[in-house]
């Protein structure tokens, strides 16, 4: 039986997006992440300026003739979709997704979107023009969209920290509390790609890691959108000494799959996910890193991967 709060949730169907919803304005902004381009259309001048400032190095001045996704941003005709549950313990942020054929429906509290990947088009209905709410709508939608776009391109959006040392990216992953942020704090002088979310993309015969523009409202933005060859993927385990533990291929694949947000619920995506992650695990060393909370782990990590990717 549903509780009173969920009874008031509004779950949009694809027909919702056939309504005539108003744009916020005539402006457009393109973002590029790891070569994937999304254009946001229907913005006001103020929204375009604010989003361009927010997304910094990922905001493009030029318009692509064929973006990977054109997003029509519209003002929703309702004030909310999912209802925020009040009283008692605060709820975990809810974001729901459902596929209808190849089309993705995604919705949360203040936004809902329909993405037609085949047509490279999406409609995003945002319930408010209030800056903080609007930015949050855009941000959360783009996370979902780019996770799927990355997978289609043979890459992944991954919950992971990434640090660049000597031109190579070291990616640290694990569940919340495993130490992802700690590894970035223990990397003074190195370029931090992210302490939470990054993208791994194909790069020649191997893979590379890149920052993404998605972050909380108070986290500083990434300073680079360059890609860096992947030196290794390290599953974090806090311990009282630093050492690496080999992971068998199935374990490596499983650990990585568990760090992929937004894409793993859909059965039809599973074969594609396994293909991509399998190739990553073949091309890149994947290890368990037992580490203490100090920079000493770099002594054993920075030599992993050598100078060339392992052959599959």
């Amino acid at each position: 039986m549903r509780d009173a709060a969920t009874i008031d949730d509004y779950h949009p169907e694809t027909v919702y997006f056939e309504r005539r919803l108003n744009a916020f304005g005539p402006q457009a902004l393109e973002l590029e992440v790891a070569g994937i381009r999304a254009r946001l259309e229907g913005l006001s001048s103020e929204q375009k300026s604010q989003l361009a400032a927010r997304y910094g190095v990922f905001a493009r001045r030029d318009a692509s003739p064929a973006p990977d996704l054109v997003v029509s941003v519209r003002h929703a005709d309702r004030t909310e979709f999912l209802k925020l549950r009040v009283g008692g313990v605060s709820e975990t942020y809810r974001l729901l997704t459902r596929f209808e054929g190849e089309d993705l429906l995604a919705w949360s509290y203040e936004w809902a979107a329909l993405v037609r990947f085949d047509g490279h088009a999406a409609t995003l209905a945002a319930a408010s023009s209030d800056r903080a709410i609007f930015d949050r709508c855009i941000e959360n939608f783009l996370r979902v969209a780019f996770a799927h776009l990355a997978l289609a391109r043979g890459g992944v959006l991954m919950h992971a920290a990434g640090v660049v040392r000597n031109g190579r990216a070291y990616v640290f992953f694990g569940p919340s509390g495993s130490g992802k942020t700690t590894t970035t704090l223990m990397s003074a002088g190195d370029l931090v790609l992210s302490d939470d979310l990054l993208m791994i993309v194909r790069d020649g015969a191997g893979f590379a890691a890149t920052s993404v523009p998605f972050r909380g409202l108070v986290t500083p933005g990434a300073t680079t959108n360059s890609r860096y060859p992947l030196a290794g993927l390290f599953r974090l385990v806090q311990d009282d000494r630093d050492f690496l533990e080999d992971l068998g291929r199935p374990q490596a694949v499983g650990q990585i799959v568990q760090s992929l947000p937004f894409v793993t619920d859909r059965a039809e995506s599973a074969p594609r996910i396994l293909d991509v992650v399998s190739e990553m695990a073949f091309a890149t060393p994947v290890k368990k890193l037992h580490f203490r909370k100090d920079p000493g782990f770099w002594r054993i990590v920075e030599n992993v991967g050598g100078s060339a990717a392992e052959a599959p």
Binding site: G248, R249, P250, Q251, V253, G254, V257, Q258, T264, D265, R266, A267, S269, A270, P271, I273, L274, S278
Partner: protein
């Protein structure tokens, strides 16, 4: 009574790595890794074979008595069902 053939869950996706099957059922929030014998049984689940028929193959390939193979396969199949990996 004839046993029904075993079928994999339609949403299950799997890959074999070095003789070990990795299986994920989307939405279940878990993955499973099978040892080589479990992987062989998993590969034999093709919607055509019953437990008895799979056990016969295992009995031949691993030189174990049919009854032993059948008991082991049934136990393994029960585990697969528990993890919702079978239809």
């Amino acid at each position: 009574m004839l046993e029904a053939p075993l079928r994999k869950h339609p949403d299950a996706a799997s890959r074999n790595y070095d003789g070990e099957a990795f299986i994920v059922v989307p939405g279940k929030g878990e993955y499973n890794i099978l040892n080589p014998i479990g992987t062989r049984v998993w590969d034999l689940i093709d919607g055509q074979r019953t437990v008895v028929e799979i056990a016969r193959v295992i009995s031949d390939e691993y030189a174990v008595a049919q009854e032993v193979a059948e008991a082991d396969v049934r136990s393994f199949v029960d585990d697969l069902k528990k993890h919702q990996m079978l239809a």
